[in-house]
């Protein structure tokens, strides 16, 4: 008996060692490429430093004070939140709608899933170039279609003028991301046992009721994870505005990620304020963590097991 216990204890110890061994490479990489750079960023944010040479001037929290009074920082923050909230509402609204429709047993489920996911396998530069063509005031697809349909006044609308370019970009961002979250939600919905739906149908539930009272509660965990992923994606949004801005990213498209890049790495101008850019990065990280924490707290529900 005691021999079995000892054997079992030794086996557990071996198991733990084995698990630790397997986790070690990933942990080391995580430490090396994430945690250490995070602390380095925090450290750099306390300095005035161009990144050239070793002349770093300690400025304490002055970079953060400067951020507070910087109108471009607030503009970038406002745009980032607009992507997060307005874009998020449309991304998840559409993803849930399509989940309900595709999961209702319609023909061609796999085809629709593929079509909606398609934008995610295209290069961001190609997608943004395509949207620029769609919005082109002269000969663009959108205005051309509107004109052909007889909407003459609307066909002269300048979708990418400075007043509208942010919202034009947001439509494109929603178009790209809806498919990704649709796939996540559909994967969750696919795991729901069919007999639950059948029982609901016998009780007279329609598509909407089944979706609201069965699908949504049973994929809640997937939805929470999807929200968290969206928060991260929206907060660090960089590549789409960068590609959509082409020759020069207009300030109307600045996100925190774009502004960090402009201030730390330059684009058209030789701005090399690495300390200031690091301060933007620190604020971005703190905001992202806070939002994730908040989302997880607010969306916490008892887990359904099936």
């Amino acid at each position: 008996m005691s021999g079995n216990l000892e054997e079992s204890g030794g086996s557990r110890k071996f198991s733990r060692l084995l698990i630790s061994g397997f986790l070690a490479p990933a942990t080391s990489i995580y430490l090396l490429f994430f945690l250490i750079p995070v602390f380095c960023t925090l450290y750099i944010s306390l300095f005035d430093w161009s990144g050239f040479g070793e002349a770093m001037k300690f400025v304490g929290v002055r970079n953060f004070v400067r951020l507070w009074a910087d109108p471009i920082f607030w503009l970038s923050l406002r745009n980032t939140f607009a992507i997060l909230v307005v874009g998020g509402a449309f991304v998840f609204g559409l993803a849930l709608l399509f989940t309900a429709l595709i999961d209702s047993g319609i023909w061609g489920k796999k085809l629709f899933r593929f079509l909606f996911f398609l934008p995610n396998i295209l290069a961001v530069v190609a997608v943004s170039a395509m949207w620029s063509y769609i919005y082109n005031p002269k000969g663009g697809l959108l205005n051309g279609a509107l004109k052909a349909l007889g909407f003459t006044n609307l066909s002269a609308f300048l979708w990418t003028s400075p007043q509208h370019i942010f919202w034009a970009m947001l439509v494109a961002i929603v178009w790209v991301n809806t498919g990704f979250f649709l796939i996540l939600l559909l994967a969750g919905a696919d795991k729901i046992p069919r007999d639950i739906y059948e029982a609901a149908e016998l009780d007279g539930a329609g598509t909407l009721k089944k979706f609201v009272f069965i699908t949504v509660p049973m994929i809640w965990d997937v939805m929470v994870i999807s929200f968290v992923i969206w928060i991260i994606m929206a907060m660090k949004m960089f590549e789409f505005p960068y590609a959509f801005g082409l020759i020069q990213i207009p300030q109307q498209l600045y996100t925190l990620g774009v502004y960090l890049f402009i201030m730390g790495f330059g684009h058209r101008e030789p701005i090399y304020q690495l300390g200031y850019a690091a301060a933007i990065g620190v604020v971005l990280l703190a905001l992202t963590f806070s939002l994730i924490f908040l989302a997880r707290r607010l969306l916490r529900r008892a887990t359904l097991e099936f």
Partner: protein, 427 residues
């Protein structure tokens, strides 16, 4: 301090290690701003091979990094990678490596004999080209590619519209554009997102009416009051006429680069205020028969000098930690020699800085502007290199807003004045 910098850059070092190129003693490590598929890159590679064939003891390791070359070099240098020679846009290098004191002065090299028998190496450059390569009175950059900002236009379209001579005054320009418009064409190509091009309307207009030093004075005035000079208001009012009269088509406000410049190639629009890369970028669409003409920004209300030219130069810097300075300097001389520059210009269709070189045919008018220049101005009259964050966050953004009509000229002046004051307060 060294330990501090090393600690701070720990994350950057990893990427630098990946980018480090193996080089033996005596080899030149050269990082370039071109992309390897660009004609310039191919020509630079060909010239480097020619140089190595003539100098078997020297090897040149070229890395084509694209336009973020200097940023990549910054990371690599912080990580300890050896780089000897870097090329890039002159103003970007001036605001980066040169301003940080990382580069070697070239005054002694320029005083030495030139590659084609010139008494001084400095003698081979186009007029005043080296003036903008100075930092605190010392030349730290050797330009090799020279792009004047000017109006690039469809000569045949203008001729057919009845404009036989390029305009010399602002009023003549408006009259020419009126004729082009009457002939059924658009006057000027403008993209709403290309603030970096659109600002040239303002910088030239201010240079012509208030002189080449005004812009820097206005930016450096911590009270912002200099912007309230009535000529600034008049300048923006003049520019808005281009839109109000329909010389810039209304849909331009929705154009994203390169939508508007394509309309020049397609024969819808007659001209664009831009750098000399336009005919090269549009060569495939415009075709070989397109007749390019170029004229400088005209004088305004009898003021200004059209031989004052704003330019974008591409230049070399030599890193001060380089162990192969003599070899790198010799290679620079070779690249600036008439033979190398002529090959570069002809094969890559680029405007060379060596004054003995003939530019490609579409740039022949631009070449005349370069050879006749009495004052060469850096981008945004030097403000871009000295105060890049001001240019990016304030000057270009506010100017573009007003140019596109989202601010009135009066609001433009007030906005520039107040933002300038805030800018300096935050410093």
């Amino acid at each position: 301090m060294r330990r501090k910098a090393n600690l701070a850059s720990a994350g950057l070092i990893l990427s630098a290690l990946a980018a480090a190129a193996p080089a033996s003693a005596g080899d030149i490590v050269y990082w370039s701003m071109w992309n390897d598929q660009e004609p310039s890159a191919k020509q630079i590679t060909a010239l480097a091979q020619q140089y190595m064939a003539a100098h078997p003891d020297t090897k040149i390791h070229i890395t084509f990094n694209g336009r973020q070359n200097q940023v990549k070099a910054r990371t690599a240098l912080t990580g300890g990678t050896t780089i000897d020679l870097i090329d890039g846009e002159l103003d970007n290098l001036a605001g980066g490596l040169v301003a940080a004191g990382q580069t070697e002065p070239f005054d002694a090299l320029l005083a030495s004999a030139g590659p084609d028998g010139e008494t001084k190496f400095a003698d081979l450059f186009l007029p005043s080209a080296l003036d903008v390569a100075k930092h605190n009175g010392v030349v730290y950059q050797i330009p090799y590619d020279y792009n004047p900002y000017a109006f690039y236009y469809n000569r045949k379209m203008w001729s057919d519209a009845g404009v036989k001579e390029p305009p010399k005054t602002w009023d003549e320009l408006l009259a020419a554009l009126e004729k082009v418009k009457a002939a059924g064409h658009n006057g000027l190509a403008v993209e709403s997102d290309a603030g970096v091009y659109n600002i040239k309307y303002l910088t030239y207009m201010l240079e012509r009416t208030l002189g080449p030093d005004f812009l820097m004075k206005a930016v450096e005035d911590k009270t912002g009051e200099t912007w309230k000079n009535p000529a600034v208001l008049a300048a923006m009012k003049n520019l808005r006429v281009l839109w109000d009269k329909g010389y810039v088509p209304a849909e331009s406000k929705g154009y994203q680069w390169p939508a508007a410049q394509q309309t020049v190639a397609l024969g819808d629009t007659s001209a664009e205020l831009v750098g000399s890369w336009l005919p090269i970028e549009l060569a495939d669409t415009a075709g070989p028969d397109f007749q390019w003409g170029t004229f400088p920004f005209p004088i305004v209300a009898g003021k200004g000098d059209p031989s004052h030219v704003e330019v974008l130069l591409v230049s070399y810097v030599l890193l001060k930690d380089s162990k192969v300075k003599p070899e790198a300097e010799d290679f620079i001389k070779f690249m600036l020699s008439k033979g190398s520059q002529q090959a570069y210009s002809a094969n890559a269709l680029r405007p060379a800085v060596n004054k003995s070189v003939v530019w490609p045919k579409p740039l022949s008018d631009a070449h005349a502007i370069a050879t006749g220049a009495t004052l060469v101005m850096a981008e945004d009259d030097g403000v871009k290199a000295k105060y890049p964050d001001y240019v990016s966050n304030i000057l270009e953004a506010v100017t573009n807003k007003a140019f596109l009509g989202d601010l009135t000229p009066e609001q433009f002046v007030d906005e520039l004045s107040s933002r300038t004051k805030t800018y300096w307060a935050s410093k």
